[in-house]
């Protein structure tokens, strides 16, 4: 009998804990076609499997430090492993090398989405896309005799900080922000050849992050904010800080200490809606569509920045 709890993931030697979800998928495509003679399928077949490991974590600095925007290659040097803890009768993880792991050494670990509400903690949805060495070997290796990694204490958390958008000379500070989300916009996918069951290659045709800011100050929309026609943004003037909480839970790390997360973006901003529901405060939604400025990635990530 093996009862397990989701535990942690590891990339290279970096353990990412603080998970709120861990999902190892085989992601098969199973076909069962009916043909003339009987309504019942006469043949069920697995035509492909695209295994992946998806997880959510609040250890955002650790994860984004590893992946950046574009993702981190999973290879023989930096493998990826997802751990499920085998539970003892006490309900706690059993001792010893009795735990389940899903390991792979070919693929890409990438961030999918970052979300945070005001006063909440930043969370990132991430995914390990994995592929096979030869199309026949399963990309995920299952083991039931592994030791659990040492878990990093989940007390490194960030929340919404100062956000300013614009270009040099025209900067708008976004007050009273309620929600911040980033779709990292990775088009990464694994691809297979010659009807092999498992993919053997990976392609990354597009990385197009989109940032959505939701606030309740209508001043950000209009003459003194983002005009209806939209506004251009540049890295130098578009800074989104994710403020690190003090690890003892009292307040925040000082702004001048380089432990906050700083995101900069290039692209354009447009207000998509000013929406009120019932008697609640109406919200203004700003969508930032990022683009390459010829030099920097559309969204830069610094996980050890001061707030300035």
């Amino acid at each position: 009998m093996g009862l397990h709890n989701a535990f942690a993931v590891k990339y290279g030697s970096t353990v990412v804990s603080g998970l709120t979800q861990l999902d190892a998928q085989t992601n098969p495509n199973v076909e069962a076609e009916s043909s003339a003679g009987t309504p019942y399928p006469q043949f069920a077949v697995i035509t492909e499997q695209k295994p992946r490991v998806m997880f959510q974590t609040k250890q955002v600095a650790a994860l984004l430090g590893v992946t950046g925007l574009a993702g981190a290659a999973i290879d023989g040097t930096n493998g990826f492993t997802a751990y499920f803890a085998n539970l003892a009768a006490s309900g706690l993880p059993a001792s010893g090398s009795v735990h389940r792991s899903y390991a792979c050494n070919r693929g890409l670990l990438l961030p999918r989405r970052l979300t945070c509400q005001s006063r909440g903690n930043v969370q990132v949805d991430a995914e390990a896309l994995v592929y096979s060495s030869d199309g026949a070997a399963h990309p995920l290796t299952i083991a039931d005799n592994v030791a659990l990694p040492s878990v990093v204490q989940n007390n490194v958390q960030h929340t919404i900080g100062q956000v300013a958008i614009g270009i040099t000379g025209t900067v708008i500070t976004i007050p009273c922000l309620q929600n911040l989300s980033i779709d990292f916009g990775s088009g990464a996918e694994t691809i297979g050849c010659g009807s092999d069951l498992y993919d053997t290659h990976l392609q990354l045709p597009r990385i197009a992050p989109i940032i959505t800011l939701t606030g309740i100050d209508a001043a950000v929309f209009g003459a003194s904010g983002v005009p209806p026609v939209g506004m251009p943004l540049a890295h130098a003037a578009t800074k989104l800080f994710l403020r690190k909480r003090a690890t003892n839970g009292i307040g925040f790390v000082a702004n001048g200490t380089a432990e906050h997360i700083k995101l900069t973006a290039n692209g354009l901003a447009v207000v998509t809606s000013h929406t009120g529901q019932g008697t609640a405060r109406a919200e203004v939604n700003i969508q930032i569509t990022t683009s390459w400025d010829g030099t920097n990635a559309p969204l830069t990530i610094d996980t050890a920045s001061a707030i300035s």
Binding site: G65, G68, L299, D302
Partner: protein, 72 residues
């Protein structure tokens, strides 16, 4: 002007990469390519120390465009 630039480059090539230069070069690589720290570290580690110093100097001088031409 060109002569002075050339002189600076020569000076950079003679200096080994310091920890600060490595950190600056890593920052530039991460921002330009969008990669994470491990990939940036590997890339900078594989560079000649003179190139690391050159990138660090360009980063200090806020000349990212010139770094791009060195990276690609």
């Amino acid at each position: 002007m060109a002569k002075s630039k050339e002189k600076t480059t020569d000076a950079s090539e003679q200096s080994p990469a310091s920890g600060e230069d490595t950190a600056l070069a890593m920052r530039a690589v991460m921002d330009i390519t969008g990669c994470g720290q491990p990939a940036a570290k590997d890339r900078v580690k594989a560079m000649e120390p003179s190139l690391v110093a050159k990138i660090a100097k360009l980063e200090r001088d806020d000349k990212r465009v010139e770094i791009v031409t060195l990276l690609y």
